[in-house]
């Protein structure tokens, strides 16, 4: 009697794979759909977990685009504090697919995109990236100027990118009622103040996430841009939910939607691929889960496994450079702790 599971590769069977983190197992985890090499122009974006990938790719000598480079002027600590060189431009953490779509729309717009400004203690913040100026700016005009320069710097990155490495973090997001803009964080955490008449919570659905990602791709194509997407899902649980649910099920919903949307796009659309960083950190498949004692932040060991898996799937050369990069990261972790606006929510809750 024949079975469709006969003669499948080892990687198809749980018992053969689970708990292994050897090179062979890592190499089998992901079969890249997109052709990536060290010379491929990459753009990185996403939630705080995406910073790990960005840093490792840069250190590994990959062609990571940088529209607002400050590495020649500032020490790492200040780059981190002011949102420089965390991603391919200074857009800060991007948690939702809607935020990324909005960013691309703004960068490619022929007219000046809207600017949403928050105030706190006489200082002014760009509501779409409030953490990049931790002290805020002196006037609203300075915020506008800074945003205009940011948009100007972002456009060439989009134009050059062959692959956008996008790490999706959340489905819950706050929307400004007047402008319809998707915000990275609720007003009242970093700056601004919470007014239910001004903002509302939206928990994006699977269909909305897919629609936003496809719309982003379509927009790029409409401008003659060729970038394809390598999607990952951040394994970092929600620090808080405003959905009314328990944070546990709310996290499961959010990650499930993002994972399912990424999977569906990867299965059905040639412009999207999915890299299983989420599975490495959260499941026992590679010996995990790899979370710290609070069950939230990925451990260094887990992050390094992610980078090893990424490199191994792309070939020996990539593997070596990414492992080297991840080692370097461990040595300088004090200087480069992951910036995450979500942490502010936690602090705010104390």
């Amino acid at each position: 009697m024949k079975s469709p599971y006969q003669n499948l590769e080892e990687r198809a069977f749980w018992r053969a794979c689970v708990g292994r983190d050897d090179d062979n197992a890592l190499a089998q985890l992901w079969s890249p759909k997109l052709e990536l090499g060290r010379a491929t122009p990459l753009m990185t974006a996403g939630s705080c977990f995406a910073q790990h990938l960005h840093r490792a790719l840069v250190r590994g000598g990959w062609n990571v685009l940088q529209g607002e480079d400050m590495s020649a002027h500032l020490p790492n600590r200040l780059c981190q504090r002011y949102g420089y060189n965390l991603f391919s431009a200074r857009y800060g953490n991007i948690y939702t697919a809607r935020q990324f779509r909005q960013l691309v729309e703004h960068a490619l717009a022929d007219t000046a995109p809207p600017v949403l400004i928050w105030e706190k203690d006489g200082r002014y913040f760009d509501a779409l990236r409030p953490a990049v100026e931790p002290e805020g700016l002196g006037t609203a005009d300075e915020v506008r100027q800074s945003r205009a320069e940011h948009m100007l710097a972002l456009r060439p990155v989009l134009e050059q990118a062959a692959c956008i490495v996008l790490t999706l973090g959340l489905t819950e997001g706050w929307i400004d009622r007047d402008t319809g803009l998707a915000l990275p964080t609720a007003p009242g955490t970093i700056a601004g103040s919470y007014d239910p008449d001004q903002v509302f919570l939206h928990n994006f659905t699977h269909a909305e996430v897919i629609a936003d990602l496809r719309a982003t791709r379509d927009l790029l194509r409409a401008h003659g841009l060729q970038a394809r997407f390598l999607l990952t899902v951040s394994p970092v649980p929600l620090v808080a939910t405003a959905s009314g649910d328990h944070v546990g099920p709310a996290t499961t919903y959010s990650k499930s939607v993002l994972r399912a949307a990424s999977g569906e796009l990867s299965m059905t659309d040639g412009d999207f691929d999915y890299f299983p960083a989420y599975e490495i950190i959260t499941s026992p498949i590679m010996g995990g889960p790899y979370f710290d004692q609070y069950g939230r932040q990925a451990t260094d060991e887990g992050v390094q496994l992610v980078l090893r898996a990424f490199g191994h799937a792309l070939g020996e050369d990539a593997s070596a450079t990414l492992e080297k990069a991840s080692t370097a990261r461990a040595a300088t972790s004090t200087d480069e702790e992951t910036i995450c606006e979500e942490i502010l929510l936690e602090a705010f809750n104390k």
């Binding site: 500032l74 200040l78 002011y82 100026e133 700016l137 002196g138 800074s146 320069e149």
Partner: protein
């Protein structure tokens, strides 16, 4: 005798040129000099006996070591306190909140302050390690560039051509004062008599003002000072840290040096 070692970088030159004048005006002072190769702390070794030695061959004619164990005071001159990095930021970027300079990108004033804080803090920590926070040591920042520095040399002046130079200078100076206050070293800021304008030295105390006839000045001649500066600066140092006043003098040390007149 009060033994004073003047150590540092190329700015030691102004004091060397004024040596005869200083020793004539301060007969109880005995001077010794040492310049760090490549202006780098790491180019030297300070041993347990108090001898500071160059780890690499110094330029010809310069001493390769100095015994600091026997001196009463150490004047470390020409210290940049990380001005160059700040100058580069201001050169390459507009600063939001300050007058625009037509750069393509801007940084915030908060970043400028944080940058100064970061770099000066590091500089001071290096400084502290270098002479092990020896309380005999007094540190002097590099002199301000000359007020008549021409446009072609202005890159050497850092941010001083910026319309808001005064504000930038204040950020840097305040940061230096703050961090040096936690060290056992003294800090000798540029005396008011040697300041022509905010962040600028008088033209007449720059090397450019005392070059031999026919010699064209370079940019460095507007950032390095002459014997007049060396003498005046040392006099202020002697007043503040040695409790000494100069014997009367009537001529310029730089003219004496230039014309080979020796002490008057």
């Amino acid at each position: 005798m009060t033994r004073v070692a003047i150590i540092g970088n190329s700015h030691v030159g102004a004091y060397l040129q004024a040596r005869d004048a200083i020793e004539a005006a301060f007969p109880t002072v005995e001077l010794s000099f040492f310049a760090l190769p490549r202006h780098s702390f790491s180019s030297c070794c300070y041993d347990a006996d108090g001898v500071l030695s160059a780890q690499e061959p110094p330029a010809s004619g310069l001493p390769d070591q100095i015994d600091l164990s026997t001196v009463d005071r150490i004047l470390m001159v020409g210290q940049s306190f990380a001005r160059e990095g700040l100058a580069r930021l201001v050169r390459d970027f507009d600063v939001l909140g300050l007058a625009p300079q037509g750069r393509a990108r801007s940084v915030s004033l908060a970043l400028i302050s944080d940058y100064a804080e970061f770099r000066v803090d590091r500089y001071c920590r290096k400084l502290a390690r270098f002479l092990r926070e020896d309380p005999r040591c007094v540190v002097a920042p590099a002199p301000f560039p000359a007020v008549d520095m021409p446009d072609w040399a202005c890159e050497q002046a850092g941010w001083l051509d910026h319309p808001d130079a005064e504000q930038l200078t204040a950020i840097w100076s305040d940061t230096v004062l703050w961090h040096m206050s936690s060290l056992k070293y003294g800090l000798m800021t540029q005396p008011a008599s040697l300041v022509a304008a905010s962040g600028r030295s008088p033209a007449e105390v720059a090397r450019a003002a005392s070059l031999p006839d026919g010699q064209a000045p370079t940019a460095a001649d507007f950032t390095h000072m002459n014997a007049d500066y060396g003498f005046a600066h040392f006099s202020a140092f002697a007043h503040n840290w040695l409790g000494l006043e100069p014997d009367g003098r009537t001529t310029s040390p730089s003219k004496e040096h230039h014309h080979g007149l020796g002490p008057q």
